[in-house]
């Protein structure tokens, strides 16, 4: 039986702090996506390189990123690497953890996108005198990024939601961390987390719709 008197005023008074937290959450997500895309391109190149050791590096990365919990990856970025004397702040830990995860998933997205681009295109580029790298850079990669654009917005949504795992490594300035802090202070659990959920929803929905809008404008054939 659930009967509880909601006191929205008590929670809404803390809204400014939660919105500050939302900004930090966005920062983490945007940075981790930018870094993740860069790393995923690098990993894709490694996979295409034909060199066994380099392909093994890329495959190992992708396998770990996709087949272990994000929580584990973030925990390792904080407590794991600290056992080797490398201390990452909570912000850096969550950023590294999510970037690692993003890069793994995006590499797989790129692989799927590459399958949609006929081999003949890069061969045509080669026949025009381009080097292997130039053909990838100017012909294949732009198409790859275009095809995987919507999956990328999905990953961005994921990144936003994954920031909530930061509390396990001492993060208290992101949206979820701030909410938990306020909860400890006031015990207004239901109001605070309901507000946090709405903020999360608005952010992620904006990203999804924004992504679709951009895609429809940019990628008209």
């Amino acid at each position: 039986m659930f009967d509880y008197t909601f006191q929205w005023g008590q929670a809404m008074a803390r809204l400014p702090r939660m919105l500050d937290g939302a900004v930090v959450t966005m920062q983490i997500a945007v940075l981790s996506m930018a870094l993740g895309i860069a790393l995923a391109i690098l990993l894709t190149v490694l996979r295409l390189s034909g060199s066994r050791p380099l392909m093994a590096v890329a495959t190992t990365w992708v396998e770990i990123a996709r087949n272990t919990p994000a929580l584990f990856q973030i925990y390792m970025a904080h407590f794991g690497v600290a056992s080797f004397g490398l201390y990452l702040s909570p912000f850096a830990s969550i950023l590294v953890g999510i970037t690692f995860n993003n890069a793994g998933y995006l590499t797989e997205n790129f692989r799927g996108a590459l399958k949609a681009i006929p081999d003949t295109q890069s061969r045509a580029g080669r026949s025009l005198g381009m080097s292997q790298i130039q053909a990838f850079r100017y012909i294949v990669m732009p198409q790859m990024l275009r095809i995987s654009f919507l999956p990328m917005t999905n990953q961005m949504v994921w990144a936003i939601l994954m920031t909530s795992l930061g509390v396990t490594v001492g993060m208290n300035s992101d949206l979820y961390g701030v909410t938990q802090d306020l909860n400890a202070l006031t015990f207004r659990t239901f109001e605070l987390f309901a507000i946090a959920a709405v903020i999360f929803y608005v952010i992620t929905k904006t990203i999804t719709l924004g992504g679709r809008l951009i895609a429809s404008r940019l990628f008209r054939y």
């Binding site: 600290a82 802090d181 400890a184 006031t186």
Partner: protein, 268 residues
């Protein structure tokens, strides 16, 4: 026939009276089980023994309360941040979870009179040279999210204007971070500090002194509108002290001088 109608009317009346006036205290007695929210990551108040059975001061306290009510005790493991959802969703009847009775929280839940009091100790990484509470200024310090000491320590760091505060989810994570050097110092209850330093699980840490926070009085909690239950809890805490059971449990789980639970010059 008339007799039967009368009987039915009587049964109906009893039924109505039964449901209309039953409060939480009645429900507990009727169900035969008292469900307590206990934090089992907080030695020596709540923890698990080698057989994974819950033990500790709070566990015994819950069992005493159940015995007083004449019902079975059920220990529901509840991490610090989940105490209120557990209570409001009806998963537990009462919290025996070392909960600080702040005025801010009392706007949401109902507290009994204090049943325990903590002193706060500073534990530092030996490499930092921190030797007192004041010595933590400018360093990276942390505590368990959602606890009294975390709230007080964060406020202190903000007041100092230098250094960093980091909350972790569990006491184990705090001491892991401390022994790794990710945290320079922590404030915890002195009982927790001693237990962890003596456990030998963490290297490079030592208790360096007391934190001058106000005594952290903790209370039992229940739903704010359950006066019958809250009234019972007050009397129960009082009786535990009166009968010497509080001292007995303190000796069993903590040891040393028993903290006073009364405040000089105050009514309650």
């Amino acid at each position: 026939m008339k007799k039967l109608t009368l009987l039915a009317a009587l049964a109906g009346l009893v039924g109505i009276a039964g449901t209309a006036q039953a409060d939480k205290l009645d429900d507990i007695m009727a169900s035969g089980t008292l469900r307590c929210a206990v934090v089992l990551d907080f030695p020596p108040m709540g923890m698990r023994d080698e057989n994974n059975e819950p033990i500790g001061f709070d566990v015994d306290y819950c069992r005493d309360l159940a015995a007083a009510l004449g019902v079975e005790a059920e220990i529901v493991e509840t991490p610090f941040p989940e105490r209120i959802p557990a209570l409001m969703s009806g998963r537990v009847d009462v919290g025996v979870a070392s909960t600080s009775d702040t005025l801010e929280r009392a706007k949401t839940v109902g507290f009994s009179i204090p049943y325990f009091a903590f002193e706060m100790a500073v534990t530092a990484n030996t490499g930092t040279g921190i030797s007192s509470y004041e010595g933590m200024k400018g360093f990276t310090v942390g505590a368990v999210a959602g606890t009294y000491e975390a709230i007080a320590l964060e406020a202190q760091v903000n007041e100092w204007g230098e250094g960093t505060f980091r909350p972790y989810q569990t006491q184990a994570d705090v001491f892991l971070a401390l022994s790794q050097g990710q945290l320079d110092a922590t404030v915890s209850t002195s009982t927790v500090a001693q237990a962890n330093v003596q456990s030998g699980n963490f290297e490079n840490i030592q208790v360096v002194g007391f934190a001058p926070f106000d005594t952290d009085y903790v209370a039992l909690f229940a739903r704010r509108d359950e006066y019958g239950l809250l009234n019972y809890l007050d009397l129960f805490v009082n009786q535990q002290i009166r009968t010497g059971r509080y001292e007995e449990l303190y000796e069993k789980w903590v040891g040393g001088e028993v903290p006073r639970l009364t405040i000089p010059n105050a009514h309650r």
